[in-house]
């Protein structure tokens, strides 16, 4: 793909992550942003990628029961005695 090519949607969807990671060359970043200027479906697409990242991130909020806490603190007291 040359620097002066117009970017189509199929190329766009493959470059979304590089764009979000700031890993595109300046030329490709300009082509990417030019595509975003006129292509509504690709605006939806990149928004869906952002939604994906947010939704996956929320998995860390599902708390795990701290079942091990008491055991580990007991182990700590053992360690303290012997250290």
């Amino acid at each position: 793909m040359g620097d002066t090519d117009v970017m189509n949607c199929q190329e766009f969807v493959e470059l979304v992550t590089d764009y979000l990671e700031g890993a595109l060359s300046p030329a490709d970043q300009a082509r990417f942003e030019a595509h975003l200027d006129y292509c509504d479906p690709c605006i939806v697409y990149i928004e869906e990628m952002r939604l994906t990242i947010g939704a996956v991130g929320r998995l860390s909020e599902r708390d795990l029961a701290p079942a091990a806490r008491d055991q580990l603190l007991a182990a700590f007291r053992d360690w303290k005695r012997t250290a």
Partner: protein
């Protein structure tokens, strides 16, 4: 954004307190990192119980290695290296582990397109490579739509179906909130390969959430 991005000085202060025998400081580190350790351990072992055990063994490893911890590396990096060693040792004993090499080796799924090629206008036609069946407009509050139990289950299933290397990258980056460089170090990936894996993984999950965030097609029949 994610829960585990604590300031480094805090970790170090806690660690110094642990060295002095401060039990509350040790409890704080457990509260801060244990859930993440268990989640990361599930990348290497096949069931939750084993992951919990590996995470517990990791804390024992922390206590045993306290004197050897060098302030040059971050506590989190050190913690993770103990975790992977424990997981590997466990794997050798039980032969149930996901081979660590599988996390850095290129896999079949790495080269798959982000979107089914059938959804674009085929080569040779005018507007080749532009959407033939574009994404539909988003629903009013897509973030909320993704909070439903059904959508969460779909996201879980999409992540679980990924090849191990993609799963490791998306979970460390997007669930645990790690920086790209830390993921590369932990898994032995180049920066480029890490981005490829992240891209495949996020693209697969995006595909799975489509039905929850896009408006339904208006039926043509009246």
């Amino acid at each position: 954004m994610t829960a585990t991005a604590p300031a480094e000085p805090n970790d170090r202060m806690l660690l110094l307190a642990v060295r002095r025998g401060d039990e509350a400081a040790f409890a704080s580190l457990i509260d801060r990192y244990h859930p993440s350790l268990v989640r990361i351990a599930t990348l290497f072992v096949r069931d939750y119980e084993t992951a919990e055990e590996v995470a517990q063994e990791t804390w024992i490893g922390v206590l045993k290695g306290l004197d050897r911890f060098e302030e040059r590396s971050s506590f989190r990096t050190w913690l993770f290296s103990i975790l992977t060693n424990q997981a590997k040792r466990r794997g050798e004993r039980e032969r149930r582990i996901v081979p660590f090499a599988a996390l850095s080796r290129p896999a079949d799924g790495d080269a798959e397109p982000a979107v089914d090629p059938d959804r674009f206008i085929p080569p040779g036609e005018e507007w080749a490579g532009y959407w033939a069946s574009p994404p539909r407009d988003l629903v009013e509050n897509p973030e909320r739509a993704l909070l439903s139990a059904e959508a969460q289950a779909v996201i879980d299933a999409a992540i679980a179906a990924l090849p191990p290397n993609q799963q490791a990258v998306i979970r460390l980056r997007d669930v645990e909130g790690w920086e790209a460089a830390d993921v590369c170090n932990a898994l032995g990936l180049t920066a480029t390969h890490q981005r490829v894996l992240l891209h495949r993984a996020r693209s697969r999950v995006r595909q799975a959430i489509e039905p929850y965030v896009e408006q339904r097609a208006v039926l043509a029949d009246g």
